[in-house]
Each structure stands twice: as C-alpha cells, then as structure tokens.
C-alpha cells in the first residue's frame, strides 16, 4: 500500500476550501494529510507515515476526516471533532433530541441557513460531522450507515 501526503499545492487548496466552507483558518501543523481515494482525505502523524514505510503488510493508515465534493467539503465526525473550535461558520447547535435524530441519519429542520451546501452539527463539545443542506429547509446528516443508531432504539 503506497500512501502519499498531499503536495503543498493540494494542501493550500484544502486550506482554502475549509476556510471557505467552515471558516477554518489553518490546518494543524503536527498532522499530515493523505489522499485516500474517492476524494477522501485522512490525517496521520509524520512519525506514523515514516514508520509505515519500514514494515510490511500495511493495509490502513490514518483517520478519515474530509470528503471533497464538487460543491463543498463534508467533514466526518472525527474530522469535525479534530477541527473543533476552529470551525467558525456554518455550525449548527443541536438539541439532545436532534442529536438522536441526526445519529439515525434522519434530517433535522433548519430554515434559516441561507445558500450553503454543508453545515457542521454540534452538541455541547461533541461535533457530529457535516450535514447537507436541502432546499426543503432540512439538513441531511452525512453519517455513514454503519454508524447510524437504529431508529427503533430511540426513546
């Protein structure tokens, strides 16, 4: 498995994109960003990447954090937690019952978001990844199927 960090040019473009979408000013300096296929990006540490070149059988490196799409960038739950307080715009606060709805993958209602494609959801200090804003005043969480809470589990 060959894993390459993003080039300086790609990093600048990512930085610009995250600033535009979420007001994130800069990328963490102690992490490396890696391309993971399907326009997905992961983060890892320099020493992990260097070590991965010295051993055999490597099948996975890094934590999946962002998916770039044609009209914006969608952060995974871990990506949004990683950027945390540096997210300055397009952030919505959920109530506890909305958290439950969000984690089932069901949409939540927000009619005041204007013309944006993605927002990040947050409950207290827990960041819950990006949701896609629909024209119908709903936000559709981008939670992968394997992480959704089954609906019948909700109270």
């Amino acid at each position: 498995m060959r894993i390459e960090p993003l080039s300086q040019r790609e990093l600048r473009s990512l930085e610009g994109e995250l600033k535009r979408c979420y007001g994130i000013e800069s990328l963490p300096k102690d992490l490396v960003f890696l391309a993971a296929g399907e326009r997905k990006l992961k983060v890892s540490r320099v020493e992990v990447l260097e070590f991965s070149r010295t051993i055999r059988g490597v099948v996975n490196v890094g934590l999946y954090v962002v998916k770039m799409t044609r009209d914006g960038s969608s952060l995974s739950l871990e990506g949004s937690q990683l950027f945390g307080e540096s997210i300055k715009k397009n952030l919505i606060e959920l109530s506890e019952s909305e958290v439950s709805a969000w984690m089932t993958g069901g949409p939540i209602i927000r009619t005041d978001l204007g013309d944006v494609t993605y927002v990040i959801a947050k409950f207290k200090n827990l960041y819950l990844g990006s949701g896609r804003v629909g024209r119908d005043g709903r936000v559709y969480p981008q939670i992968p199927k394997w992480r959704r809470v089954p609906e019948n589990e909700l109270d």
């Binding site: 992490l31 983060v43 890892s44 540490r45 020493e47 992990v48 070590f51 991965s52 051993i55 055999r56 059988g57 490597v58 099948v59 996975n60 490196v61 890094g62 934590l63 999946y64 995974s76 739950l77 871990e78 937690q81 990683l82 506890e96 958290v99 439950s100 984690m103 207290k124 200090n125 827990l126 819950l128 394997w146 992480r147 959704r148 809470v149 089954p150 589990e153 109270d155």
Partner: protein, 312 residues
C-alpha cells in the same frame, strides 16, 4: 431457578484437574451476565464532560478501580446502540479486559505493537493512553476481522495508528527489536468469558487448547522478539487453561534468556497464584508473578495477564 449449564466432558475433566478451581462457582458465574462496562473516550472530549453528559442522560456510572477511564454503567437504554457509542464517546469493553493494556504502561510518544488487535478494544485503549502520540501498530491476520478493527479505530478517533495484516508469528522477521511496548492478546479458548456465549463450555474440546497453546507460544515469542531492550510486553488470554496461560509463558522463559516476568497483582482485584505444575508438566516458578483471576473472583471475566520485560 434456571437450569445449570452443562459443561462438555472435556471441560468437566479439565476443571477437576485444576487444583484451585471451584467448578460450581464457575458454573454459577457464567450463568450471570457480566456487568455493563465501557471506557470513556478522552481522545474526543474531556472525561468529566463525557461523564456529565451520560449522567444527564440518566446513566449511572461507577469507575472501574483498575483501569483509567473505565466505568461500570447502569442504564435503561441499550449502551451498544446508543448515540454515545456510535459517536465514539464510549467504547464498550469488559472490565477485566481493560487490565492488559492498563498494565503495559504505554506512554505518549511510544512505539507500540498490538500483535492480535481485532476488533480493537485494547488498541483504542492504548491509543487513549498514548494521547494519540507516537506510533500504534495494530496487526490482525484475519481479513474478516480487519474491517471492524479499522471501523473502531475510526470511531474512536485514533490518528496515530497503522493497521497491518500479517501472521503475527512472522512479525519479528522484519520488526525485531523495534517496539517500546508490545501487547499480545492471543486467540484462546475463551473459558473466562463463557457468560457471553454458553456454547463455548458446552462444546469445549481439549484439542482446542492443545492446538491453541502452540500458536500462542509462537505468537508470544514473535511478540517478544519485536521488543527493544528494556521494552515491556503483556501477554493475555481470557481463559483459565494452564496450557494457554502458564505453559506459553514458562516456555518463553526457556527460549529467551532475556525475558523477565514482572509481578502483576493489582490490589483492587482478587487474583490467585498461577500453577507451577499441572498434569505432569512443570512450569518455571516466575509464572507465579502473573495475574490470574477466574470468572467468579471479581464479578468480571476470567483473565490471565503476564507482564514481561526484555532485559539484556
């Protein structure tokens, strides 16, 4: 009263041959469900914040005395399908299963190998103790079990990991003297966690332990060879069988002069002395320093944990 669980003939024979085993207590212990237990994820939020969030949700939490971030949980909602589990704020793990990684003394910045890692309970625990710094290699041989391992590392927010798929017996061929810490949590007959699956005791055959013990010894030797001088290793099983516990550790001491067993006796846990002989086999006296608990000792799983240092 529920009907007592039938033990296979081989298991009944084994139990009678282990001098300090009380078969009725064992049988009774595995009839009771294990307590619900989880680790709070400090890689995502502060421990106190998560605890407060869960308590506000109506959960009751009581710290596990022998493992940082571990809690016994009392909750009316399903912990495993809760929002908090799915969001990666907690990781469900048996209370004694937290002891091996806790005993390894991993530190931020260490280079750590988890030789038999899937599904990742102890890997995520070590990542947390490493504060996501250093290098954590999570190795697993089974293709089927790699995916849940990667998913759990993701859910827990582990960013200093890399996952390898190698037969652990061969790992030392290309990584000898490399790691500060190695955990080898071997596949075993699981007789210490039969409360989770009674078929284990109903169908147990002694050939299982005989076959496993050879694999366990090879994994342990390979794990040891991956350690740098002065490094620490933990060997663990969730079984009670001397061939899978005392025997591999004793044999490692025969094979590697630089292996030194350190004493492991957490005062908050009931434990018992490992055996020096069993069914005509004699084990090195140092195995007595290992930790051993049966399922009825602590209202927890049965576990065996050896802490080993690589000297000069």
């Amino acid at each position: 009263m529920s009907r007592p669980i039938e033990l296979s003939d081989d298991l009944s024979g084994l139990m009678e041959g282990i001098p300090d085993m009380e078969v009725e207590l064992y049988r009774e212990a595995i009839t009771r469900p294990l307590p619900e237990c989880a680790r709070v994820n400090t890689l995502k939020m502060q421990e106190a914040e998560v605890v407060q969030m869960l308590e506000e949700r109506g959960w009751t939490l009581r710290p596990v005395p022998w493992a940082r971030y571990g809690y016994f949980i009392d909750s009316t909602e399903g912990v495993g399908s809760s929002v908090y589990h799915m969001a990666g704020l907690i990781y469900i793990q048996g209370p004694l299963s937290m002891l091996p990684a806790e005993s390894l003394d991993v530190r931020p910045g260490d280079r750590v190998l988890d030789l038999c890692a899937a599904p990742g309970s102890k890997s995520t625990q070590m990542a947390q103790l490493m504060e996501n710094r250093g290098v954590l290699v999570c190795n697993e041989v089974s293709t089927k079990r790699i995916r849940p391992l990667i998913s759990n590392l993701q859910r827990f927010g582990v960013l200093n990991h890399l996952v390898t798929q190698v037969d652990g017996r061969r790992f030392s061929r290309f990584a000898s003297h490399t790691f500060d810490r190695v955990l080898v949590d071997v596949p075993c007959s699981s007789l210490g966690i039969a409360a989770k699956d009674w078929s284990l005791v109903r169908t147990y055959s002694k050939t299982v332990s005989e076959r496993l013990s050879r694999l366990q010894l090879s994994l342990l030797i390979s794990a040891f060879d991956c350690l740098r001088e002065g490094g620490l290793l933990v060997y663990s099983t969730c079984t009670v069988h001397p061939l899978e516990n005392e025997w591999p550790v004793s044999n490692l001491l025969e094979e590697r002069d630089s292996a030194e067993v350190l004493s492991l006796r957490p005062s908050v846990l009931k434990s018992r002395s490992p055996l020096e002989e069993w069914e005509g086999l004699t084990f090195r006296s140092e195995v007595k320093r290992c930790f051993k608990a049966y399922p009825y000792d602590n209202w927890a799983e049965g576990f065996f944990v050896a802490l080993i240092r690589r000297g000069r």
